[in-house]
């Protein structure tokens, strides 16, 4: 069992969720209710990672993150090193790849909140921030939980993009799915089986926790 790969996978999944969720909530809310110019094009762009082959997306990100590109130089200036073949690089890639998984469910949840419920909050004296905290987020909670579950589960199993951006550097970019691939390549079926079983068990466990949380939060009375 490759425990460093397991730990790295977990870190990647947690950081992806933590960093992506606030952005996804803001983007989803804007797309649901805001006046976004060329909204269709923006939505299509966010959805792109869903339909693009991971190797193609990985290739473009590799080119974009390389020290030869303007973006790569900018990112290198921010992080102190070029993001390719590093944890930073696979985290940035993971954030981009997971954008549709995070934004879509939250956007649908926001869209399902009737406009007059928000207006009732304004007329009841609630500021926009108070309305978001006390009305919109609790009502969109099932969508937010779905976004967390999808993003987390998807990151646990991400392979193609991470391989293109990060390769397979132990302790830096070798996540569990890549470690499993390496084991299979080396005909270590037993090792691959153990890691696959651990990934499967952990994925089920994570999804179960998230859904239990969703049910509890959904049925509990929200003290205000």
């Amino acid at each position: 069992m490759d425990w460093p790969a397991f730990s790295l996978t977990l870190q990647l999944a947690v950081w992806t969720v933590v960093l992506l969720l606030p952005c996804a909530v803001m983007i989803a809310r804007l797309l649901a209710w805001g006046r976004v110019p060329m909204k269709g094009a923006v939505e299509a762009l966010i959805m792109l990672p869903l339909v693009l082959p991971p190797t193609v997306l990985g290739f473009y990100l590799l080119v974009a993150f390389s020290p030869q590109s303007e973006l790569g130089r900018m990112l290198a200036a921010i992080f102190g090193h070029a993001p390719v073949f590093s944890f930073t690089g696979i985290l940035l890639a993971s954030l981009i790849v997971n954008l549709p998984f995070a934004v879509q469910p939250i956007q649908r949840a926001f869209e399902a909140i009737p406009r007059n419920v928000r207006e009732a909050a304004f007329v009841s004296g609630l500021s926009r921030w108070q309305t978001m905290r006390r009305i919109e987020l609790p009502l969109a909670w099932p969508g937010i939980v779905s976004a967390i579950a999808l993003t987390f589960a998807h990151t646990l199993g991400e392979f193609g993009v991470i391989l293109m951006i990060g390769g397979s550097i132990p302790g830096e970019t070798r996540v569990l799915s890549i470690a499993i691939y390496d084991r299979v390549q080396a005909f270590d079926i037993a090792g691959a089986s153990v890691m696959s079983a651990v990934l499967l068990g952990f994925s089920l466990f994570a999804i179960a926790i998230v859904h239990t949380l969703a049910r509890r939060k959904g049925t509990a009375s929200h003290g205000i």
């Binding site: 009737p114 007059n116 419920v117 207006e119 009732a120 909050a121 304004f122 007329v123 009841s124 004296g125 609630l126 500021s127 108070q130 006390r134 009305i135 609790p138 009502l139 009375s221 929200h222 003290g223 205000i224």
Partner: protein, 357 residues
């Protein structure tokens, strides 16, 4: 003595996207009903007062406060307007209990005070004991009451009701109407009720404002609007069917078909003018044969339709047809039936002349 200034005054003006040219004022403790067909701008007026819609031009004042003045660049946010608004489908917060729905409208106050006031308001709308229920555990009438309690929670300067009875069944509607009437008597703030239900407007409002395509057709007491409509559109909107083309003969007579009908007022019409005569049911009475008085006419019952405790009659005169409702008991006593000839009297005081624009 100077008259009391209006507690709510508005003048809205815009050409598009929704044409709106409306001026209104409502006194403290007065209930004004806005009625009109779909698309007449009633709800837009209400939303403008609440700050949820910004008209291109206009001014809205509540007492000494200016909520909107497009010329002066004033446009207070809904949060700053202290308006109580009951939405058509109530718009309760679905994840909160009835108590929390009301409590949330008092965020600025202390916690204990919010709870105490929310309980008091829910008790006032007869919901004591249901505080812990969420909207999906309440009936339509109960949801409406929570919405009303929430609207009152901010101690509003204006109460706005957008079709508050449209989402409840008829059985529930009557007690709710009576409660609203009692609340209206107890509240010392202007109330604006948007409705398309004439009966509702007649029974609850102190004054009615009739809107059509964003314009005020007439504002007046329910009786004024019903018996003395200023325009044909108002009469039709109020459900008046006895509208007969007529010609003014002199200062006190008009001709309807072959009949000369005495009238009390001509509303500015001159002899020779072509007008429409409104002969509301209030002016028509069945009389015994051989009676005396002005406007005695002989007619034939062409149709008779029992409607519970009243019976609708269609009376055919020479080139004139009128509809009248009489108590079913009277219809039975007089043995009214289709084909029967009856004498009717038209009270000149209630014959109303509408000038053609």
């Amino acid at each position: 003595m100077a008259s009391e200034p209006p507690a709510l005054s508005l003048a809205l003006s815009q050409g598009a996207p929704i044409p709106l040219h409306v001026s209104l004022s409502v006194r403290r403790g007065e209930l004004l009903a806005l009625i009109g067909p779909s698309g007449s701008g009633k709800t837009t007026v209400l939303r403008s007062v609440a700050g949820l819609y910004r008209p291109a031009g206009g001014r809205i004042t509540a007492g000494r406060e200016t909520w909107l003045d497009t010329d002066a660049g004033i446009d207070l946010a809904p949060q700053a307007r202290r308006v109580g608004l009951v939405f058509q489908d109530y718009a309760l917060f679905p994840h909160l209990t009835a108590l929390d729905n009301v409590r949330l409208a008092m965020l600025g106050e202390r916690d204990e005070e919010r709870t105490r006031r929310a309980k008091e308001l829910l008790a006032r709308v007869h919901l004591a004991g249901l505080e812990a229920r969420r909207p999906d555990q309440l009936s339509g009438g109960e949801r409406q009451r929570v919405a009303l309690a929430r609207a009152l929670a901010r101690d509003p300067k204006v109460l706005l009701l957008d079709e508050p009875f449209s989402a409840v069944d008829r059985m529930t509607r009557e007690p709710l109407k009576e409660e609203l009437a009692a609340l209206h008597r107890a509240l010392d703030i202007p109330i604006v009720l948007v409705t398309h239900d004439l009966e509702e407007a007649q029974s609850l409002a102190d004054r009615i404002c009739v809107l059509e395509r964003g314009r005020v057709l007439q504002t007046g007491t329910p009786e004024d609007i019903r018996l003395r409509p200023a325009a044909l559109g108002v009469a039709r909107l109020m459900g008046q069917t006895n509208l007969i083309p007529a010609v003014v003969l002199d200062q006190s007579h008009i001709r309807c078909g072959s009949h000369v009908v005495a009238v009390r007022q001509l509303d500015g019409a001159r002899p020779g003018d072509e007008v429409t005569a409104l002969l509301p049911a209030d002016c028509i009475s069945l009389v015994d044969a051989g009676g005396e008085g002005p406007n005695l006419l002989r007619s034939t019952i062409s149709a008779l339709q029992p409607l519970g405790d009243v019976t609708a009659l269609t009376l055919d005169f020479d080139a004139m047809r009128l509809r009248l409702k009489v108590p079913t008991r009277e219809a039975a006593v007089r043995a009214l039936r289709p084909g029967l000839t009856v004498d009717v009297a038209l009270d000149p005081a209630f014959v109303h002349v509408i000038r053609r624009s």
